[in-house]
Symmetry: C3
Subunit: 349 residues, 3 copies
Amino acid sequence: MVDKTHPKLDERIEPGNWTDGLDMPMSLMDQIPEDPASLADLANRSVVSGKQFSREQAIQLCRLAAKFETTQTMGQFPLTGKILISAFYEPSTRTRLSFESVWHRLGGDVISITDPSTTGVAKGESLHDVAEMMSHYGDVVVLRDSNEEAIYEMLDVLRIPIINAGNGTDEHPTQALADIYAIAKWRPEFLMDNPPADKKIRICVIGVPGRMRTVRSLLSFLALFSPAIKEVVIICNADQPFSKGQKEELEEAGLKLRVTADLDAQLPDTDVVYINAIAWVGDSYEELGTEYRLNDSSPLKDGSIILHPLARGEELATDLDNTEHNWYFAQARGAVYVRMAIMTSLVRF
Amino acid sequence: MVDKTHPKLDERIEPGNWTDGLDMPMSLMDQIPEDPASLADLANRSVVSGKQFSREQAIQLCRLAAKFETTQTMGQFPLTGKILISAFYEPSTRTRLSFESVWHRLGGDVISITDPSTTGVAKGESLHDVAEMMSHYGDVVVLRDSNEEAIYEMLDVLRIPIINAGNGTDEHPTQALADIYAIAKWRPEFLMDNPPADKKIRICVIGVPGRMRTVRSLLSFLALFSPAIKEVVIICNADQPFSKGQKEELEEAGLKLRVTADLDAQLPDTDVVYINAIAWVGDSYEELGTEYRLNDSSPLKDGSIILHPLARGEELATDLDNTEHNWYFAQARGAVYVRMAIMTSLVRF
Amino acid sequence: MVDKTHPKLDERIEPGNWTDGLDMPMSLMDQIPEDPASLADLANRSVVSGKQFSREQAIQLCRLAAKFETTQTMGQFPLTGKILISAFYEPSTRTRLSFESVWHRLGGDVISITDPSTTGVAKGESLHDVAEMMSHYGDVVVLRDSNEEAIYEMLDVLRIPIINAGNGTDEHPTQALADIYAIAKWRPEFLMDNPPADKKIRICVIGVPGRMRTVRSLLSFLALFSPAIKEVVIICNADQPFSKGQKEELEEAGLKLRVTADLDAQLPDTDVVYINAIAWVGDSYEELGTEYRLNDSSPLKDGSIILHPLARGEELATDLDNTEHNWYFAQARGAVYVRMAIMTSLVRF
């Protein structure tokens, strides 16, 4: 028998219950001057890699995201009559629903591919022909594909913008921008050219930069904000954490990188801990770094925050959910607004 | 070769062909005074169990459903900009399309989960994390899950209302309210505090109350309308038709219950026959009571009606479709308007 | 490592890049006088077979399609508040997305069935009951089903229009109308009662008319335009290319038909080549005529065009994509506008 008493059933859900933290995006907006010109340059472009973005674009996208986050009710629907093609050739619920929700909140409509086995591609249709078709049917494509080259093949012929929602082990740029936005909400000085020395941060990234798309894209964005970063510490025990040239490129962009296998030794001096245990490989995934776990007993620095792109497994204990370190839920919430900022910048008339 | 002559191909479909019976919802509206206060109390609440509703709420939801049923064309779209998360972890087409259609008719947008095998839950994500995610992506969740506890787990953390569209063998409250609405359209006195003695009805329910969610929820609602019910006769040959405490609770609420295995002996004195042969169990279903069948030769009372939540199997013969007893199509039609009534009561601004 | 340089990433996509050929639909509109009366007769009708359409209706649908194709931005959304039930019991991405895109562009909402295995039909529900349900949930049904009789069964009880998006090996009328529109854009004289002798065309159809639904529907439409057609040459090596009575019926309607197995011998004198290698049979498909291939070395007549309903396999080489013969991409683009013309003609208020 089901116990049908649940406190939530006698409770009215008031929006006020969950808008804690609106002061943070508010403060972000106050501290960053608006600069529409840098976003105008994104109009009708595709979003494939974290490397495409300039520092100013990333900052202005965070500012625009904050603007959306502090807008309770949309007074207009800028994407009315526009169609998103939500093409998830690698199954996903979280990311797919995120993009579809964002598009709808902006007033647009969505057509979806959720089951790759029923598509023409499964029957041998070329990606060029698929891209040709999509150019007729929609205004933007969001693509997730376990083949990292697929998005580049589609770019050859697409006549509408495409957004990379994860291409194999390569990149996932909109997720990474959501990570940046989460850090910026917590500490707006992160976006400054000359942040005060006591506001510079140490970031631990648990994961393998050469094999995890979320980590690869995140590092590209972090490189834009080197002035605010003391050091990025990669926590992993892989022999070759980086792909060819990756480390050199990041260091050239100004990022201080260090690799270590010992997580707990770093935590007391770390301001931002980024953790993620799943790396997609082909149609399946491998878990990397399952020996690294965070829980309420981890020696976390006071005031430090944890980020996780979710969904989480056992690497991140739920006993952290109600602590000050839980910034991953704010990060997930922010991802919606970051994608609203990207979408409205891309689609112009 | 296909025979391509079909009378429908030479026929224009006129709305007038299928609005028979609008006088019934009209009459329902005339007989029930409007009481917006009782529905205001549903704002921003979840709908999990038939037991949550007061008699007055059930009556007013029927009245509001009648109002929608008699409105040919919506002049406004109250859910514009609102997003429904249609989460069917147990596959369903009829119920899913019903909710999605309703939400669209009210002006809202929908994001859907139709294939549970591609979700994070299948990969081990907790329902708490799923609910956290959904709170960011939508305004209402409709959930069907073969695990009856799932909806209660999601309630723990959800910050938007959730509607139970079937949780295992437990409940399916919106279907049950559609059953009540079907009875009320046929006989508005059913909703009265003191119906005339000759308008009181005997109801036969073919099914197992302890193992069928539609039956369980229906009985909860029927208990609210005991003044209009002579008796509810449960037709089944199960040893233990009720779950623990179920019978006692219903009788305490005023319902007269009797169990018998002989359907045909009851029919000549029965006003409403409710039949349903499928009980969902886990990922599959079992057929209960397949020995009970209704057809045009069944000794049905003149003027009596048959209800069935559909889809039907062999328990309900199609030779009844064109008889006065066919109230199951009107019931299916009414389910749309009942869900419109529920949705607009839940979502306030 | 992914090579992240791609010329498209530095390029803004301007609508002007891909509106080549707008002069053709413009010219089509100029040459055909508008005749709303013939389309008014389509209101609230179902579209099941190519044989349903009169010559004047086909012409006016092409004209209306041209009107949509030359309208850059819709100023109004005629299907606001209307719901399309997109029911693909035989999996399809291209056709499904096409219809869903069209419906959205016209302002309507869509509810979809993409996975037949989860439906009531899979559990034994009758098509009559499904049609009864759909009449409550939507305003138009688009059906693809590998059972060619399914759409006729649904017609028995549906109270909303249904559109055949492919029924087994039988018909696919909206695709065929898109083929006609593609020819008419290329040569508007095709639609004339008395085209000049030098504008009459020879058409090669590579395929088996008796077993391919796209071919069957196309031939029905071509029969309406016999005055502009010198000859239709069927290229196939099947013993019985036609189904019973098919050839006789087409010839009676005025079409000159010839069958030959030698493609290359025909090409130098052919104005329109229609090629399609896939025939759906049950849940799977067979490839027909894989020995017939078109590529840049085929002896194609100067100025002749190739049509293909897509998705393509090896029968149509990509080295033709950048030649004057590639009319299949224009055809695919036009299919969107043809379906907009059909939808707006069907749904009236």
